[in-house]
Subunit: 284 residues, 2 copies
DNA sequence: CCTGTCATGTTTATGGCGTACACAGGGTGT
DNA sequence: ACACCCTGTGTACGCCATAAACATGACAGG
């Protein structure tokens, strides 16, 4: 059935987008294999996912799997879509930021439940119907913001990769703990040989002494806020450059435009002054 | 020399931070191995980096390497620091955004030259002196912006992971091309079986028809701009919130604000002077 | 000069991995 | 009754990291 198709991506598409016409045979089946794979990867990480162990878990020989799945990579694709189905539907209403943030949190929750998701690498993973549905939801959140189509796609890609990036951070720490039995903090705390060299670096030392490493920001929450802020700024800039009746960049209220003369960018002199100071103090 | 030390992180620290006292023997040496490793990974990616191939490239047996390097992981650590040395020194002056952006572009350039850098995973890689120097430079770029120490660290971490994330995107595409001989576009273009299913998704279809997928935004430039904007906003919010009843950045005591005029940033002339000197002395 | 020590490189072996290939048995269509 | 195919099995190959024992040559001390 799947034999000899290892290098055939179109067959992989068929499997991913297969109709639900599953045969409830009692032997092996694609779904049983995929589920076993998910369970294994949940427990041991993606590196611990081997065809041998999946087969063992099901009580079959290794090679029997290849009757149903072309190979390990395709199994991973199938697993990804399997768990993508778990994601609850994010709300379809509200402003773009609420919706995009909801999608991000949904994706974060998914990666918390299945940490191996973030470990999946390789640029040629074919998306299944559930993954595409998630993508569609994210795109639809920002599609009506006045951004160009390419920008919409870039925004969603950026947020998606941010999720993977931050999730990977946690997975790697957890995986190292699992393998070594030593906790993250404990292990780094024991690296005195390294810390001895650090006083030569003034900023690191200063931040260390000020306790910056003691209670760090939550990387996900922190990054998500910065990212959404950055996107928000772009959307507002688009909005401003687009038409006369804009919104004050400083306070967000609409700006009344004069009948003639240079268009106003700020709603009031105090906002103008504030924006000036902002520019002045070195930044955007 | 390195034998039996595979599980000893402190020994890895010694290797990374070794003094330059290299013996110019004619046989194997740590530096030759590291350089061969870099060359191999440059050519074949991190997955193509095997102890066998490194040894072969040098004309020795596989196990001979273990006399100098504890194991593959530590070799990778050493390689990372080796190439981190290539990074040119970013400017130590200018506003935070210019400096942080320069660091980011420097890191991007590094990953362009050595794509495998982005593939290095695992939370317990010990930084060498060059990597730490880069970290120090990034931290010093944003340390005097009024952010809390934890925020400064979070900002630098966020930008660093962004770099890896975007670099990985390119590496994976390149790696897939190298292995299959089929270009990214060609391969995805051939996935008609997938595209047939997409018309069911309205937003994807709309963006497709509007050409959003035809000439995409540069993910690095796009993401970097959003990220810096987001960080910028936070920095300005900090500055503004300080207007009402702020806190002196230097000594931490509350600042009495004048009824009118430019808001004060420091509680006293002496603190202002101290901050000035601090800025002056190169970010530290 | 002999000899013990140490740094260095080699050989062999273990256990893991993905998967190609030839084969076996049982159910189904003709 | 027969052929065929679907499914599962057994064996085997080539790759990987690395542990352990062994060989060699330089060099220091007696």
């Amino acid at each position: 059935m799947a034999r000899g198709r290892a290098g055939d991506p179109d067959h992989a598409v068929e499997l991913l987008w297969r109709e639900g016409g599953a045969r409830p045979r009692q032997g092996l089946s694609l779904d049983r294999i995929v589920r076993a794979g998910v369970a294994l990867a949940d427990a041991e990480g993606l590196a611990g996912l081997s065809m041998r162990k999946v087969a063992e878990r099901l009580g079959f020989t290794t090679m029997s799997l290849y009757r149903h799945v072309p190979g390990r990579d395709q199994l991973i694709d199938l697993m990804c879509d399997e768990v993508a189905a778990e994601a609850g539907a994010a709300p379809e209403e509200g402003d773009w930021r609420t919706r995009l943030e909801a999608c991000a949190r949904e994706g974060w929750e998914l990666r918390r439940r299945h940490p191996w998701l973030a470990e999946v690498r390789g640029g040629r993973h074919i998306p299944g119907p559930h993954a595409i549905a998630r993508y569609e939801r994210m795109l639809s959140a920002v599609v009506d913001t006045g951004l160009t189509p390419a920008e919409v796609i870039a925004v969603v890609g950026l947020v998606g990769r941010f999720l993977d990036s931050e999730a990977l951070l946690l997975v790697e720490a957890a995986e190292a703990e699992r393998r070594s039995g030593v906790s993250h903090e404990e292990w780094w705390g024991g690296r005195d040989a390294l810390f001895e060299r650090l006083p030569a670096y003034p900023t690191i030392t200063r931040l260390w002494e000020e306790g910056g490493f003691d209670d760090p920001e939550d990387p996900f929450e922190f990054g998500l806020a910065r990212l959404l802020d950055g996107i928000s700024l772009m959307i507002h800039e688009r909005y401003e450059s687009r038409d006369e009746t804009g919104v004050c960049t400083v306070c967000g209220t609409p700006v009344d435009q004069p009948a003639s003369g240079r268009p106003r960018a700020y709603c009031s002199p105090s906002c103008r002054q504030r924006a000036y100071r902002r520019r002045r103090s070195g930044g955007a």
